[in-house]
């Protein structure tokens, strides 16, 4: 049974997706039921696995495939971090998407690929070796492309092509790195605290090259500058897709890949000793500042959020690139925190766009009066991004700051401070407009009477993610918080 559970976790959305493709467009009820059932089933399997792991069970599915590669799915605490995030947010995003796509065309296609997208993301998390990781990493590219271009407009198709160019090129690099590594050392599994450090020292120079090839390939999805160009373009996608792309699926696959490579392939101490981490740190630091600077002047809400993602996702890489448990904790926990906060923000942007067609920040004057709950959720997400306690973002920033000091990279504090200031610079004006200006848009400023401010299918997931963002920070000290899990992982990555 233990060998089947990781497969079941992956398959629960894969099968859903395939079945949905065969559903006629008008079978909305059945499709929604399938979607929700798939998401709940996945959540159930993940929960089962989590409980088992606490009891000391191990879950691993391994098959030999062609050319001597192993196909390996393995549940370790690090995998659970992303699997947990994906499966919870998938459920919420599915609900949101059902409400959002009301009346759109091609919904079967949409939900089919939507399910594949989560399948890939969970596969990326559970992948136990580089080749399995690569398979799902590419699967993710292919399954997200139809979502990005879903609207079918020229702009969307153009964005889709840009997206494909970037991600396929990145995938090719990951492939080169993976194969090269395979040629050198054969089939290696991701192992806590790293595996390449046990290899022959004569291979070290090649390892260094492979490291940068892999990071460059992964950096495309993780939107490290200058490989980030696809992300702001891809925000033409429908809101639930953007939400998923920015919070869980694509950027997280890249960031998670970097985590895997640094910790479980090379080992953070080994990578540090070979001088591999400093370039990564510089790239991450630059990306953090650059993304925020670009976000400052965007008037399109989703575009501003997209540049914010460029910046925030690199917190993960930044935490990974510093040697020391606190930095590790900060980076890993941000994987979850950024996901919760950013998905909240995109949900809100989607609600504004769908209900009153507000897409520009300059049109958001007084919108808090019309959407108090939505804007409340947005406020939590925005304050979290800035790093205001007690929202989750603060917990990440605090650990990254202490980790920077602990690893002797005091100057990284300046990056964090600059990022905080810039985040305040581009989020606080939004809050100011929404809460403190009088409404002057063409939309009705009054809340609907006896009706929620937005369709509940959109509003409820948004409020839940906002509440989770708040809870993850406010209750960070509890044993069920993302922080607690990140602590467990960090303690295992530093075993001598």
């Amino acid at each position: 049974m233990n060998a089947w559970l990781p497969i079941a976790v992956v398959a629960s959305s894969l099968v859903t997706g395939i079945v949905i493709f065969f559903l006629p467009e008008h079978r909305r009820g059945v499709r929604s039921l399938l979607n929700i059932a798939g998401a709940l089933l996945k959540l159930f399997f993940v929960g089962w696995m989590a409980v088992g792991m606490i009891r000391g069970e191990t879950y691993e599915s391994r098959f030999s495939i062609i050319l001597g590669f192993d196909f390996l799915l393995k549940a370790d605490p690090l995998a659970m971090l992303l699997v947990g995030l994906s499966s919870v947010l998938w459920l919420l995003t599915t609900i949101y998407a059902i409400g959002y796509l009301e009346g759109w065309k091609n919904r079967s296609r949409f939900f089919g690929f939507f399910s594949f997208c989560v399948t890939a993301s969970v596969g990326v998390a559970l992948a136990g070796n580089p080749i399995t990781f690569f398979i799902f990493y590419e699967f993710l590219t292919l399954s997200t492309y139809p979502l990005v271009v879903h609207r079918g407009t020229d702009e969307a198709l153009r964005a889709g092509r840009t997206y494909l160019w970037y991600t396929m090129a990145g995938g090719a690099l990951v492939f080169v790195g993976t194969v090269w590594l395979h040629v050198l050392v054969g089939s290696v599994d991701f192992t806590e605290a790293g595996v390449l450090r046990f290899m022959d020292a004569s291979l070290y120079p090649q390892f260094s090259i492979i490291f940068f090839i892999l990071i460059a390939g992964l950096g495309v999805k993780a939107a490290l500058v200058p490989l980030h160009g696809w992300l702001p373009v891809a925000m033409v996608a429908p809101a639930p897709v953007s939400a998923l792309l920015h919070a869980v699926a694509v950027v997280k696959a890249g960031a998670f890949g970097i985590v895997r490579v640094v910790y479980d392939l090379y080992g953070v101490a080994f990578a540090d000793a070979r001088g591999l981490l400093t370039p990564l740190m510089l790239a991450a630091g630059f990306t953090i500042v650059y993304g925020s600077v670009r976000a400052l002047t965007q008037d399109d809400l989703k575009r501003r959020l997209a540049f914010s993602t460029v910046s925030q996702v690199s917190y993960i890489a930044l935490g990974v690139s510093m040697l020391g448990p606190l930095a590790t904790i900060g980076g890993l926990v941000h994987l979850v925190h950024q996901g919760l906060m950013k998905i909240t923000l995109f949900f809100c942007a989607g609600i504004f766009a769908e209900t009153v067609h507000v897409k520009k920040i300059s049109a958001m004057n007084g919108i808090g009066r019309r959407f108090p709950w939505t804007m409340g959720a947005f406020t939590i997400g925005a304050l979290g991004m800035i790093g205001v306690p007690p929202v989750a973002g603060f917990v990440s920033k605090w650990h990254l700051g202490l980790g920077a000091l602990g690893s002797g990279n005091g100057l990284v504090i300046l990056v964090l401070l600059a990022s905080t200031a810039l985040n305040a610079g581009y989020f606080l004006p939004i809050l100011y407009r929404a809460w403190f200006r009088d409404p002057d848009g063409p939309w009705d400023e009054h809340m609907p009477v006896r009706r929620a401010e937005a369709p509940l299918l959109l509003l409820v997931p948004c409020i839940i993610t906002a509440a989770l963002s708040l809870a993850a920070g406010l209750l960070a000290g509890s044993e069920w918080s993302p922080l607690a899990l990140a602590r467990i992982i960090a303690s295992r990555e530093y075993v001598p």
């Binding site: 153009r158 970037y166 306690p389 202490l402 905080t420 606080l428 403190f436 000290g477 918080s481």
Partner: protein, 574 residues
């Protein structure tokens, strides 16, 4: 249960604030919440001061408790906010933004009160941030262009201060290896970066405390904020900055003559320069804001003495707690007098408001038999700890400061009187409720010296009341002001906000330059993917939707993927 009141101190206003935001509560409930917001804090201070509440799950694990200075700070904070809440009951009678005002009041009070209970840096910082960000809503409450502008400076400087505080705290916590506040000063003192940490904390909390040169937001924010909000901003929230110094600066662990001198210099300059700037103001609340900067300058002198001599630190903290308490109630009474003046329609009421303002002014300036006098004589004794030379200069400096304060607050009384003379019937609002609440505030500030008997531990440095003759600088200040008015002396005017205005101008200039010059250039990168692609692979069409079958027909996609799954299973050997 022990500690329940500590939790309620924060949770009651917090929950009420959140409920205000999310629900449409009737006005009477909102007003009731504002008037009662500090009740749990009162119980915590008086009934259960030794309680400890441990919450490991909260934030990064936190414990709430009331320390010695924390208790005094919480006492005056709770007292002043209650007065402001009662005052607000009448003040907000016709306010269409009552809901927003209530929410911001409740939330910023929750942060303000909570930070006195914190025993770890994270909780402290969280409460500090809650207070800072919620108070923005109070500053811009009226939404006038002036208020918006003041709000911009306020929030900009507040974020700047938060950044300095955050980095100072990170460095401290890193040095100590724990976030517990009690362990931080010693660790900072032993840290190789101690000068940097002190600088960060000094100026970071200094933004809140109105320290020179980061004081600019005060004279802009106070005139535009609703009167009860100005009272708590100046009486209580700026004391949170002082409290930050008291908690986190490494005084008492070592002597820091350099930093001590820096504080003395900044404090003395602020005490005198702000008094001058205040005398030239035409808005009574701007005048009071400068008075606050000036008084915080005097408190900075106290911090400086404590830093320069480790032995003086405990006495300095005790004295500063008292100084803050005294200033809180007196400044509260003065600010509330501005609103009370608008309520004083009859002549007797005007005389009463004027007399009361004089009394509160005397309390701050150190007039005879007031808390101010106790504080000043205490500070004189404390300056005995200052390094040689300074210990001779300082008492004289304090004398000059008393004189300057008297001058400054004479100006306030004069401005008040003038505005009451010029007021029209339409300006009156609030009525007896405002006057009554204000009288209560006045009673509180007059009672301060007698409070210390029962509630506040007497700092060792108190000199007690001096003779009436000791108050000569205060009376001289009043006389000189009267003479100057008679002689129509026109001092050079300092615009309210002084260097804050320059900061505002500079930041708008940078923002304009950025949005018009830099940002558009960044939007059009010279090298795009298409550019690279066209260079590498000629002949690929640039535009046009050649979407393939997989995106057009889901069934087709399903077939593809099903085949893929079968192939995969087959490759796995089934």
């Amino acid at each position: 249960m022990s500690g329940g009141w500590l939790a309620a101190t924060i949770l009651y206003p917090l929950a009420a604030g959140v409920a205000t935001l999310l629900m449409r509560l009737p006005p009477v409930v909102l007003r009731f919440a504002m008037a009662t917001l500090a009740v749990p804090a009162g119980v915590a201070v008086f009934v259960d001061p030794d309680a400890v509440l441990q919450a490991d799950a909260l934030l990064l694990g936190t414990t709430l408790a009331l320390g010695e200075p924390g208790r005094i700070f919480l006492l005056f904070t709770a007292g002043l906010w209650t007065l402001a809440g009662l005052y607000g009951w009448f003040y907000t009678r016709d306010d269409r933004r009552l809901r927003g005002y209530t929410a911001c009041t409740l939330l910023s009070y929750a942060g303000n009160a909570g930070l006195f209970l914190a025993t770890d840096a994270v909780m402290f910082y969280g409460c500090f941030a809650l207070m800072t960000f919620s108070a923005y809503g109070l500053v811009v409450h009226t939404r006038t262009p002036d208020a918006i502008r003041a709000g911009r400076l306020y929030i900009g400087m507040a974020v700047f201060g938060e950044l300095l505080v955050l980095s100072g705290l990170l460095l401290s916590v890193h040095a100590a290896g724990t976030a517990e506040i009690s362990a931080l000063p010693a660790a900072v003192s032993a840290s190789p970066h101690r000068s940097g940490i002190i600088a960060l904390l000094l100026f970071g909390f200094g933004v809140k405390a109105g320290l020179l040169p980061v004081h600019g937001w005060l004279p802009l924010a106070h005139p535009v904020a609703p009167t009860p909000a100005s009272a708590v901003l100046s009486g209580s929230m700026i004391k949170a900055g002082l409290f930050g110094w008291v908690l986190f600066l490494p005084g008492g662990t070592d002597s820091f003559p350099g930093w001590g001198f820096a504080c003395l210099a900044l404090g003395a300059t602020a005490a005198l320069a702000a008094a001058y700037a205040g005398v030239t103001q035409t808005h009574p609340k701007a005048n009071l804001a400068y008075s606050s900067i000036s008084q915080m300058g005097v408190m900075t002198i106290g911090i400086g003495i404590g830093l320069s001599n480790a032995d003086a630190w405990p006495a300095a903290i005790g004295l500063l707690s008292f100084y803050a308490l005294n200033h809180a109630f007196a400044k509260g009474a003065l600010f509330l007098a501005v609103g009370a003046a608008h309520a004083a329609a009859e002549k007797t009421a005007r005389i009463w408001v004027t007399a009361g303002s004089v009394l509160a002014g005397l309390v701050i300036a150190g007039g005879p038999f007031t808390g101010g006098e106790l504080a000043k004589t205490g500070l004189k004794k404390l300056s005995g700890y200052a390094p040689d030379g300074l210990s001779i200069v300082l008492p004289w400096l304090l004398v000059i400061s008393s004189f300057a304060t008297a001058l400054l607050l004479s100006r306030f009384v004069h401005l008040q009187w003038r505005s009451m003379q010029e007021a029209h019937d339409a300006d009156y609002h609030g009525g007896a409720g405002l006057l009554g609440t204000w009288t209560l505030a006045l009673a509180a500030c007059a009672a301060v010296p007698w409070m210390i008997a029962g509630l506040v531990p007497v700092p060792a440095v108190f000199g007690g009341f001096a003779s009436l003759a000791g108050a000569w600088p205060v009376f001289l200040g009043g006389l000189v002001y009267a003479g100057a008015v008679r002689l129509k002396v026109k001092p050079m005017r300092i615009p309210a906000g002084d260097i804050g205005l320059a900061i505002l101008d500079a930041s708008s200039g940078i923002a304009r330059w950025w949005t018009t010059s830099v940002a558009p250039a960044m939007e059009k990168p010279r090298v795009s993917v298409r550019y690279v692609r066209n260079a590498l692979i000629p002949g690929v069409p640039d535009e046009g939707g050649r979407d393939d079958r997989i995106t057009r027909s889901p069934v087709w996609a399903g077939v593809c993927f099903l085949t893929l799954v079968v192939l995969m299973l087959w490759s796995l050997g089934w």
